[in-house]
């Protein structure tokens, strides 16, 4: 039983760190640092998966943790950096909402999600905390997509949301059936690849990846 306690302490720490990493993404003005923050976040997620696996003794969670590490912490960041290199985008991320407003909004979102989950009586203790964290990741991810102009950042936003979901899934239900998880990973990977292709196309046709310019289809 004490593994669970230990697990829970570790978990709380990790989840807190994940939130911090999310705020790093919100706070940074450089693509590279965003990608780096995302890498860290994914790494922390892998750890969460590992811890949960350890504390519950569900060993397929180790596989999931490994996959996460491989895919989200290594491959996807690499893809990002590849894209950035290839199409030589300016390093700055173009913003709609400034850095400090973004951080404040992020904070508000965290509070909202916290209250939302609180209002569900059935979820208590650690899982409630984790769930609110994942909620806030999801909403912050969406906020990133809204507030950043570069196509790449929107891609990143989606991945943040994905991570939020992953966190939710792991901490709530100790992971979904393996088959499903693998399917999800597969989808994410394909998704990222296709988005990459699209970004290249956008860059080719519009000579920019600033989604602000994608406004030809109206009405």
């Amino acid at each position: 039983m004490e593994e669970v306690i230990f697990g829970s302490n570790i978990m709380q720490l990790l989840i807190a760190l994940i939130l911090v990493s999310t705020f790093m993404i919100l706070g940074s003005t450089r693509l590279y640092s965003c990608v780096r923050a995302f890498g860290i976040q994914s790494f922390l997620l892998a750890c969460v998966a590992g811890v949960v696996g350890f504390s519950t003794g569900k060993y397929d969670l180790y596989i999931i943790a490994l996959l996460t590490l491989l895919l989200k912490a290594a491959v996807i960041p690499y893809i990002f950096i590849y894209i950035i290199r290839e199409i030589k985008v300016k390093r700055e991320i173009a913003l709609y909402v400034g850095i400090s407003p973004s951080l404040i909004t992020g904070g508000i979102l965290v509070v909202i999600s916290y209250y939302l989950i609180r209002s569900i009586n059935a979820i208590t203790g650690l899982s409630s905390f984790a769930l609110s964290a994942s909620m806030s990741l999801v909403s912050i991810g969406l906020f990133v997509m809204i507030s950043r102009k570069k196509a790449i950042m929107q891609m990143l936003g989606i991945l943040i949301m994905e991570n939020g979901l992953f966190l939710g899934a792991i901490s709530l239900t100790n992971g979904m059936p393996l088959l499903v998880e693998i399917g999800v990973f597969f989808d994410v990977l394909i998704g990222v690849l296709i988005m990459g292709i699209l970004i290249f196309r956008i860059n080719k046709t519009f000579e920019t990846i600033d989604t602000d310019k994608l406004k030809t289809l109206i009405g």
Binding site: L116, S139, L142, M145, I146, K215
Partner: protein
């Protein structure tokens, strides 16, 4: 016997439709097939309807599937309308044999034949449907097919506009009908008309009133009551002549049929203010319809407006019937209903005749504008005589058919002295006065049309080279001309038959049948020796005419031909003739508050502002309701739409934030709901 006849009718129309589309390579063949089968079907229809009227009612149900059930039910009421439709179709089909030649080589005749047959079939199904869903289906089928007929000459922009207004209005109408059916279905728990008539009258009064209003609006749109009539003056002129004869003569009557079904059959008569409302609408439609007809110089538009007028007259009868029915007097209710029905029958005959006449004028002069006609009485003598008969009937001049039905309507209104309600006794005579005004204006209008169109000298090239059209067209018109004379002179042979139909829904028993019939084809009303004997009137007039003519020809005095008197100036040229616009000018001035004419005076000045080069005076009269009711509504809707259309900015960030917003709102919803 029935079970063969009714499917036989449907079958004939389908044959006509299918084969004419199959043979659309060969215009002649396609045309003849479609019209032949249509006329055979119409003969069958006449036999069928008569056998229903004198026999018992016919019903047939096809369980389309476990969900959709189709049923037909033909009682005397439906049979009467099937009869009207069939008669009209017979005459019009014969007419069309000649008329369609106009389109040979120009248009796809097979397609036209297809639409023509399906159109008539749908009308017959409408009056024999026995189930709300099926009714809606055939009703919309009728509207859609007639829409395609309206835009048959869709190369013209105004035709397309007409078609669009038509189908839009009729769709709105259908919306109301649908709602009323849903209400009744809710009350009766089924969509079959039997259950409607079983439970409809047991609905709470409020629901009954709503249903009444919705049906009135819904079917009124099709019937062309003011202010829902706006489509009519566009659509009827746009259609080919033979089709407009059917649309104006018959199609709009199907709406009246359903009104009667709903008001009497389903809702069981209802309360007295329904009657007053219908009466008021009738009066307004009659007056405004004819007012616009008077100043119209496009002959087909004029006829369309006069259709609105006549629907108004029919509704006056119907309204009186409702009033009497609600005040518990089935006999008078039957009388009023008979008046309405007789006018309905007459109108379908003479309006058909007039539309065909207009069709033949256009056929041989290629213009619809009576300002450009004139002198046709010498160029197309036969048509002019037939047209004159139509004109005399529609102007309600004795002893023609229009007179009899108007006389009946007036008598029905007069019968209000039997009523105990003083309001009724004031309102009905006043509406009688309005009816009289309508009649007088109708006479004015058609006098103008005939005088300008057929008399004096041709006003343009078109009219110069006109000549009587081919035989089938004359034949088709001839049938109707003969009918409208007979309906005028021998109403006594028709009225008992209509009386039977009226008694089916007014419940007027044999005792309080409104008529007895004396010698010399005299119609006798129960009250204090009110007689009318058109045969006698006719024969007196005829005898006197013969005597006078005898004296006239007998006299040795001869006629010297000389040119028309014009204050000594040689003026007998077309330019000096009185124009249609000038002719209707007094009326236009009289009712200028209703027409609200738009006058524009353009003067081109020379160098000095005092000396004018030329004057251009323009006077156009728009539809009051379009200008003050419909256009503002449409503008409003479009303006709002433009505002809403802004949300599709094209920016993906905006789109994502919509989703975000929705999410946040729903979360708030949960949080507040949860705590």
């Amino acid at each position: 016997m029935y079970n063969i006849l009714f499917p036989g009718i449907i079958f004939c129309f389908l044959i006509g439709a299918v084969f004419s589309i199959l043979f659309n390579r060969n215009d002649r063949l396609a045309n003849h097939i479609s019209l032949l089968s249509a006329s055979i079907a119409s003969i069958l229809g006449i036999i069928f309807s008569l056998s229903v009227v004198f026999g018992d009612s016919f019903s047939l149900s096809i369980s389309g599937s476990s969900y959709l059930k189709f049923g037909f039910f033909v009682d005397r009421l439906s049979a009467f309308f099937i009869l009207i439709i069939s008669i009209a179709v017979f005459a019009v089909s014969i007419y069309s044999i000649g008329y369609i030649r106009e389109y040979y080589g120009k248009k796809n005749i097979g397609y036209l034949g297809f639409l023509y047959n399906i159109f008539i079939l749908s009308m017959i199904l409408v009056v024999s449907a026995n189930n709300a869903i099926m009714f809606l289906i055939v009703w919309e089928l009728m509207s859609v097919v007639s829409y395609f007929l309206v835009i048959f000459e869709h190369e013209k922009a105004e035709t397309r506009k007409a078609g669009f207004i038509y189908i839009l209005m009729t769709h709105i109408g259908t919306g109301f009908i649908l709602l009323s059916f849903l209400i009744m279905a809710g009350a009766s728990g089924s969509y079959s008309f039997e259950s409607f008539s079983a439970y409809g009258s047991t609905m709470p009064p409020f629901l009954k009133d709503i249903t009444f209003l919705f049906t009135l609006i819904g079917f009124g749109t099709k019937a062309g009551i003011v202010p829902l009539h706006i489509w009519l003056p566009y659509a009827h002129p746009a259609a080919p002549g033979n089709v407009s004869a059917l649309m104006s003569g018959v199609m709009i009557k199907t709406a009246i049929y359903m009104m009667i079904r709903v008001f009497f059959g389903f809702l069981g008569g209802g309360v007295i203010w329904w009657g007053f409302l219908v009466l008021a609408i009738g009066v307004i439609s009659a007056l405004l319809g004819i007012m616009y007809a008077v100043i119209e110089s496009d002959i087909k538009r004029m006829l369309a407006f006069s259709s609105i007028e006549n629907i108004g007259i029919i509704l006056i009868g119907l309204g009186a019937s409702l009033i009497f029915y609600a005040s518990g007097n089935p006999g008078l209710s039957a009388l009023a209903a008979i008046a309405a029905f007789y006018h309905l029958l007459n109108h379908s005959v003479f309006k058909g005749l007039l539309f065909m006449g207009a069709g033949s004028i256009i056929y041989s002069t290629h213009t619809k504008n009576i300002e450009q006609l004139g002198g046709l009485i010498k160029k197309m003598p036969v048509v002019s005589v037939l047209f004159l008969i139509g004109v005399l009937s529609i102007s309600a001049l004795p002893p023609f058919s229009g007179f009899v039905s108007e006389w009946l309507t007036l008598q029905a209104l007069l019968m209000s002295f039997g009523s105990s309600d003083s309001f009724t006794r004031i309102v009905l005579p006043v509406s009688a006065a309005a009816l009289a005004l309508t009649g007088a204006l109708a006479a004015f209008c058609f006098l103008k049309t005939f005088g300008m169109g057929f008399l004096a000298l041709p006003r343009s090239e078109h009219a110069e080279h006109a000549k009587d059209p081919n035989m089938p067209m004359l034949l088709g018109m001839g049938i109707f001309a003969l009918l409208s004379i007979l309906l005028g002179i021998l109403p006594v042979y028709v009225l008992p038959f209509i009386g039977m139909i009226a008694s089916t829904f007014t419940g007027a028993s044999v005792i309080d049948q409104p008529f007895s019939y004396g010698v010399f084809g005299t119609i006798t009303l129960p009250a204090n020796r009110i007689y009318l004997s058109t045969p006698v009137l006719f024969s007196i007039i005829l005898i006197l005419i013969l005597i006078t003519t005898g004296l006239y020809l007998g006299s040795r005095r001869k006629n010297k031909l000389y040119e028309t008197w014009g204050c000594g100036q040689p003026v007998s040229t077309a330019r000096n003739e009185y124009t249609a616009t000038a002719f209707s000018k007094p009326v236009q001035i009289w009712f200028r508050n209703i027409y609200r004419p738009i006058r524009e005076l353009h003067a081109a000045y020379t160098v000095s502002p005092l000396i004018k080069e030329s004057f251009k005076f323009e006077l156009k009269i728009e539809q009051t309701f379009e200008r003050y009711l419909y256009s503002p509504m449409v503008d409003l809707i479009l303006r709002i739409s433009r505002q809403i259309k802004m949300i599709q900015t094209g920016s993906i960030h905006a789109y994502l934030s919509y989703i975000f917003g929705t999410l946040v709102i729903l979360m708030m919803f949960i949080i507040l709901g949860g705590s």
